[in-house]
Symmetry: C2
Subunit: 198 residues, 2 copies
DNA sequence: GTAGAATATTTAACACTGTAAAGTGTTCCA
DNA sequence: TGGAACACTTTACAGTGTTAAATATTCTAC
């Protein structure tokens, strides 16, 4: 009775292929160039086949967006087990965010709707700001400077804007030969922010 | 001989109408919903007529983007005559940026390629980072903490990422009605940045 | 092993999109 | 008044997301 299992496995594989192909095209061309027909062409199926796996194009992007946030969350959980110092956790996570934006720019573009990536489903942001007090970054901030939950949440939002905002601007305004090495500037900003907390 | 002048005037008007209509549609629906045909419909001309005024759709967005940056530059020049204190200039400008992003969100979206606004022509960013030492914000930063030109330019980039990054994240992640609550957090971040300079 | 049901997949079509070429008016000057 | 210049529209093409219908394939039951 391994037949249904094999089918299930192939379905999962094809679904993953769709997502990968979308990202590949976006990386090599741009998100504006990503079309259902082009993806179908690469995975060697007819366009309507994609609708067996995703309700519509937007859901494809939504999946990539959610996966992106999930991947960062995973990294964050790893860091939590690695470092006891909340300051260290924050700067290390910022470093990971930088690498992620650099190495998987096309995913980052979807996560924040920039440069042609346009995904209507935005409920992932609400999720990011729900149950804040269990978020490792929130915990780290509270640990560094214990205050009311609301005050910590404010700082959390500042952190969010500082790190992701920096990356967004850096990606969108690229290429920018005048300021070649932005990573040190980014990390310096982050460290100053962390220092300024206590 | 007022005929050619009248024609010239009407051409200019129509050009402005195209830009305004694009922004109107973007504001009421989204940038994804802005199409040549829809604009043509509103200004009551056939679609190809638009190509007498703009080479293509991208040029329309590019114009809106450039106009947006130009508008902010103008405000900045005004501030320069109003305030002697560089700290005051910076915080006041941040306030203006906030209001601009709030009141002309659709222009802001084009300026930074977010939420469906997708404009390929990015040379305005290069222009923003060229001749930095004449930029009022650069001057203010240099005045507060005089250092090497490179060091000031670094700080300028941090300022840019802080303010615009904050606004980008706020626009992208928040459903509109919640945005006003964030202004104090934004301004607080800006003031802390300015304080940290000296 | 074959009929029929269930799945898997494709073909064809619709209503959109940006844009170019060709055609039609309309205005103006000699 | 004829013809050039200009203003503008019609038509068309290749592309988009998406749906319904048609077809091919696989599996199940006899």
């Amino acid at each position: 009775m391994g037949i249904v299992e094999r089918r299930e496995r192939m379905k999962k594989q094809l679904r993953a292929d769709i997502l990968k192909t979308a990202k590949d095209i976006a990386r090599e061309e741009s998100w504006a160039a990503v079309s259902i027909r082009k993806i179908a062409d690469v995975i060697e199926y007819s366009p309507p086949m994609l609708y067996e796996y995703f309700d519509n194009k937007d859901k494809i992007l939504e999946t990539i967006r959610n996966d992106g946030f999930a991947a960062l969350h995973e990294e964050l959980q790893k860091l939590k087990t690695l470092y006891r110092s909340p300051e260290k956790l924050l700067t290390e996570f910022a470093q990971i965010q930088w690498r992620f934006a650099l190495e998987q720019t096309e995913v980052f573009q979807v996560m924040f709707n920039i440069d042609g990536a346009n995904c209507l489903s935005k409920q992932v942001y609400q999720a990011e700001f729900a149950k804040l007090n269990t978020h490792p970054v929130w915990e780290a901030l509270a640990q560094i400077r214990p205050r009311s939950a609301d005050a910590v949440s404010k700082t959390f939002y500042e952190w969010w804007c500082l790190t992701y905002g920096f990356l967004l601007i850096s990606i969108v305004t690229q290429p920018r030969p005048q300021l070649p090495n932005l990573e040190p500037i980014f990390m310096e900003s982050v460290r100053r922010f962390v220092r300024g907390l206590s």
